[in-house]
């Protein structure tokens, strides 16, 4: 017993230690050593963010150096506060408050005392800085905008939040990341890759040399410059036209799917979200819940397409062989559905495909729509066919363009109506409104523009996209350079396009012809409703227009959606014609029209629902 006492104790101690050590070193030891190690500090070298140019190489976004005054509270020595505050351009209370905040955060680590000095203040301060111990100036790079347009598409950058940090281990606290638009979509390209240097620290947080002799250090990789597909001049011009109006304009080059302009009204100057007033400005935009400037209507506003959708129904009917261009329907200044009359403004009489389109005859398209459904034994079958055709134009689902936001729109299928009316308890009469683009179909302006591009191309489209070149090299993403075919044969497009061309010559948009350019278009006047104090109230119609030009060799396809602009030709048609002229000719020959479009606003129209008073809609103001 006595002999074994000490040996037992020695063995027990050994086992205890091995247990403790395996607990510490085998079971608790974490893997990400370098970043958690308090003895290693990572010092980052940030590359400049890539510039953004338009399709013609015109600068849109660049960088602007900004200067933050930093403080390390522990190192601050007695100073002439009044003089220093004077230089910084802040008062003493603010200075002391900020200093206290910094000290509370950490006495050892640098904090921002005054963010984003102007270049002038910086110049003044720079030479005197060495008198103030514990303070220094840190250079940062801010976005500089060489345009006041395109705020929502270009997007903005802001500091990473907790979620970004969790999702992407690349970022560390305090770094910037693209938050919306192109800045977000192409963050990886624009950002480049920061360089890192690992520094070995001692327990007093002093540098004592590189960690592992710099073996793990990396050099920064420059951010790449990109060309976007936007036409800077057209974009800026469109935004001017849009002033005082709500809605969206999207213009696409049909031959490539490149987005020439993407305008949302109302918009704001992208410069507002940079610099010292950023958060105040952002709040102002964010809390404007009536006009919603941060809401990009060109890609997010879903609404009924209105009459432009008639062209799709015509194409489907031709493809299904239920009509020929010569098939006629009689318009009795409207048509009858289940004993109820629905109105039409075309003037009445016999309509064929051609006049049906350019006069936008509701009765003609109601008849056409019924014929599609009559072809099949069951409504379900017909619905599937119709849905398949419509969706082949990129409607009813995300287009998968390269912007981080989007909406599906809605092309209802049989399930939708089964849910609404019950299985087999509905027929084409129930859904006849879809024939004229009212009903249950809804689209976004970008979908409408893409649909127009598909018609312009006579049967196919390229997925709309915003990125044109990276570092001067054209993109090769197959998603964007391969055509997507619709289910309609090429030959059926010609009569429809002919009708659209005559919309300008003979039809609903006679007033907006562009001298020397042959345009094909289609007006739309969309009834819409809102709820005021719970009461469904009709508002002035939305003015919609789609067009492409020139008819034979389309360079631009455009969709204009002006909320509460009344007739399709009134606002949308005029704006579309100005945009087309601007893009194809570079300047506007019709100065009077241009002046009128720039000056007219719809503010009074938008104020109506909020006035609390009775109001009239669809007033003939001019």
């Amino acid at each position: 017993m006595k002999k074994f006492l000490l040996s037992s104790i020695i063995i027990i101690i050994g086992i205890t230690f091995l247990g403790r050590l395996s607990y510490l070193q085998v079971f608790s030891s974490s893997t990400n050593q370098v970043l958690e190690d308090p003895a290693i500090k990572a010092v980052y070298d940030y590359p400049e963010r890539g510039y953004i140019y338009d399709r013609n190489g015109k600068l849109l976004v660049a960088n602007d150096p900004a200067y933050d005054v930093m403080v390390i509270p522990r190192e601050v020595k007695a100073l002439d506060t009044i003089e220093f505050c004077d230089l910084l351009g802040i008062d003493k209370e603010k200075f002391l408050k900020e200093l206290k905040k910094a000290r509370n955060y950490s006495p050892r680590l640098p904090s921002v005392l005054v963010p984003q000095l102007s270049k002038e203040d910086y110049a003044k301060l720079q030479e005197k800085m060495r008198h103030y111990q514990g303070f220094y100036i840190q250079k940062r790079s801010l976005r500089y905008y060489d345009t006041s347009s395109g705020a929502n598409i270009l997007g903005y950058i802001s500091e990473v939040n907790e979620r970004d940090l969790e999702q992407n281990p690349y970022y560390v606290q305090g770094e910037l990341t693209g938050r919306t638009g192109i800045e977000k979509q192409y963050e990886d390209i624009l950002r480049g890759r920061k360089g890192v240097q690992y520094i070995q620290k001692d327990r007093f947080n002093r540098d004592i040399g590189p960690y592992k002799n710099g073996l793990l250090d990396t050099l920064p990789e420059q951010g790449k410059e990109i060309n976007v597909t936007l036409d800077k001049d057209l974009q800026e011009y469109g935004e001017r036209l849009m002033s005082g109006k709500w809605g969206g304009i999207v213009a696409i080059e049909p031959a490539t799917g490149e987005i020439l302009s993407m305008i949302s009204g109302p918009t704001y100057d992208p410069k507002l979200l940079v610099g010292r007033d950023r958060s105040a400005n952002y709040s102002k935009l964010h809390y404007d819940t009536i006009s919603k400037p941060l809401f990009d209507r060109s890609i997010l506003a879903e609404g009924s397409p209105g009459s432009p959708f008639k062209t799709i129904n015509a194409l489907i009917a031709l493809q299904e062989g239920v009509i020929t261009p010569e098939t006629t329907f009689t318009c009795y200044h409207g048509f009858y559905v289940g004993g109820r009359k629905r109105g039409c403004h075309c003037g009445g009489g016999n309509r064929n495909l051609h006049s049906g389109i350019y006069k936008s005859c509701n009765a003609y398209f109601a008849g056409t729509f019924r014929k599609i459904y009559d072809k099949y034994e069951t409504t379900d079958e017909a619905m599937d066919v119709w849905e398949k055709h419509v969706k082949s134009f990129g409607l009813g689902d995300f287009l998968h363009y390269d912007l981080p936001e989007g909406k599906r729109g809605r092309i209802p299928g049989k399930e939708y109506y089964d849910k609404w009316y019950g299985d087999n308890r509905w027929s084409s009469s129930y859904i006849i409104s879809n024939s004229i683009g009212q009903g249950e179909v809804s689209v976004t302006p970008v979908q409408l523009a893409n649909m127009t591009a598909a018609i312009a191309n006579r049967g196919f489209y390229y997925t709309p996209h915003i990125l044109k070149k990276v570092e001067g090299k054209d993109i090769t993403n197959p998603e964007f350079v391969a055509p997507k075919y619709t289910t309609i044969d090429k030959k059926y497009f010609d009569p429809v396009v002919q009708g659209m061309a005559d919309v300008y010559k003979l039809g609903t948009a006679r007033g907006v012809q562009i001298p020397g350019i042959e345009v094909a278009g289609k007006t739309g006047t969309v009834e819409n409703f809102t709820k005021i104090n719970g009461v469904r109230t009709q508002l002035t119609d939305h003015s919609v227009f789609v067009a492409f030009a020139p008819v034979d060799n389309p360079k631009i396809a455009i969709a204009v959606y002006i909320e509460n602009g009344y007739f399709g030709s009134r606002y949308a048609g005029h704006i579309a014609s100005l945009m087309i002229e601007k893009y194809l000719k570079g300047e506007i020959s019709r100065k009077d029209l241009e002046k009128r479009m720039l000056e007219k606003t719809l503010e009074s129209e938008y104020a109506k629902p909020y006035s609390g008073e009775e109001f009239k809609i669809n007033e003939r103001v001019w």
């Binding site: 006595k2 040996s7 101690i13 050994g14 070193q25 030891s29 960690y211």
Partner: protein
């Protein structure tokens, strides 16, 4: 006797373990103190250079010890003891103060720590006293004398202040147990520690309940024929409860705040996790850092000279008391486990050697050496890995420090010398 005969009969296995420990220890000292600008191992301005010099000194001392007459140590052990006690006393007058403790003589090139010397001397003196033909450890009077031999140096060292080193001397009671002191004392000591810890952690109430439970069980399980010693049982229970009460009093009134903090950290007495974390990072700073450093080494370690916390001096005293944390960081679990095994093997080997002594003095001295090494090793690694409260004593053969290395080595080799001579003694 010729030198070669010592080399033939000495226990080379122990020497092998010893040499490995010293070498690994030096490598880690080198790692904690080297600088990239002057990485030479012979840089005598750096601590690792000095330690190399101390290792050289040790070899000289070892050769001298092996060359001496075996009987020299037994004959002069009383003298060593007296000299060491005088040197401890002398500290009160001539001592040099380093880090608040007056524990050193300044010899110019080197600071001598007489408490290290006293450990070896006390082990010798105790062995000498106990092996005396007239001493009978079963006698109260002899027990008292033996305790006094241990107690005197401890009492001289406590006021330096160096309670850690003083504690080491009590390890020598293992020698007494080996030589026949009833194990009852050991059991008693163990029970006292148990009551102390239980009281701090759970309070006197639970100690009382536990005692009541034990007595009840005793009554329930006893054999019919067994006569219950009621009076001793009741008094033992009362003493336990009184002791438990006194623990609270001593803890709150006699201990200083820093001692209380160490215990509250060790036993996790602080319930608020935030406050506990705060204590861990302030009072428990050293242990916190060393635990983190060991943890960060993982299974394989970061590699020799690659320990970032070691380089950044994150663990205070990492070349002396906390040297084991650098083993943990740079060599990982493989390294720490190897060191623990080496100590275990060396100690077991020494127990084996002690047990085979025919000469009582040699055996008792051997046990003294083992006890002292064991308690250093146990307390040091226990502290560095955070399972024991902070008690600042070095890790034998490992920690930086000339006196420590020299006297640990001397102590060990005196025993190996005695062992090499065991056959002759037997004749």
């Amino acid at each position: 006797m010729s030198g070669s005969s010592v080399l033939k009969r000495i226990d080379w296995l122990s020497i092998f373990f010893y040499a490995l420990l010293v070498a690994i220890g030096w490598l880690n000292i080198y790692s904690t103190t080297f600088s990239e600008t002057n990485p030479s191992i012979f840089n005598f301005d750096a601590l690792h250079g000095k330690q190399l010099f101390f290792i050289g000194t040790c070899i000289v001392a070892i050769v001298t010890i092996l060359a001496l007459e075996t009987s020299f140590f037994e004959r002069f052990s009383s003298l060593f003891y007296i000299v060491s006690m005088i040197s401890l006393l002398g500290l009160f007058v001539f001592g040099k103060t380093i880090a608040g403790a007056t524990s050193w003589y300044d010899l110019g090139f080197f600071n001598l720590q007489p408490s290290e010397f006293a450990k070896a001397a006390t082990a010798l003196a105790l062995a000498k006293y106990l092996s005396d033909i007239q001493t009978d450890i079963k006698r109260r009077k002899d027990q008292l004398y033996a305790f006094l031999i241990i107690l005197i140096p401890a009492l001289l060292i406590i006021p330096q202040p160096d309670p850690g080193s003083a504690l080491v001397f009590f390890a020598l009671v293992f020698v007494l147990f080996r030589e026949g002191l009833p194990l009852f004392y050991l059991l008693l000591g163990f029970l006292l520690v148990l009551v102390f810890v239980t009281t701090l952690k759970f309070g006197t109430i639970w100690v009382t309940i536990f005692v009541a439970l034990v007595i009840t069980l005793f009554f329930l399980l006893k054999k019919k024929s067994f006569k219950i010693p009621i009076f001793p049982l009741i008094s033992a229970a009362l003493i336990t409860i009184l002791f438990s009460l006194s623990v609270n009093f001593v803890f709150n009134n006699v201990f200083e705040q820093r001692h209380r903090d160490r215990f509250s950290l060790w036993l996790r007495l602080e319930k608020d996790p935030q406050k506990l974390e705060q204590i861990r990072k302030t009072i428990g700073y050293n242990t916190y850092q060393s635990e983190k450093a060991i943890e960060s080494g993982g299974f394989f370690g970061k590699g020799f000279l690659e320990g970032t916390r070691t380089k950044g001096d994150f663990v205070p005293e990492q070349h002396t008391d906390y040297i084991f944390s650098s083993v943990g960081e740079e060599w990982g679990f493989l390294g720490t486990a190897s060191v623990v095994m080496l100590f275990t093997f060396l100690l077991l080997r020494l127990v084996f050697l002690a047990e085979r002594q025919k000469n009582a003095f040699s055996r008792m001295y051997g046990y003294g050496v083992i006890s002292i090494l064991l308690v250093h090793y146990f307390i040091n690694i226990g502290m560095v890995t955070g399972i024991l409260p902070t008690i600042g004593i070095p890790l034998p053969f490992f920690s930086y420090g000339g006196s420590g290395l020299l006297f640990f080595s001397a102590m060990l080799f005196i025993f190996l010398k005695l062992d090499s001579n065991r056959l002759r003694e037997g004749i």
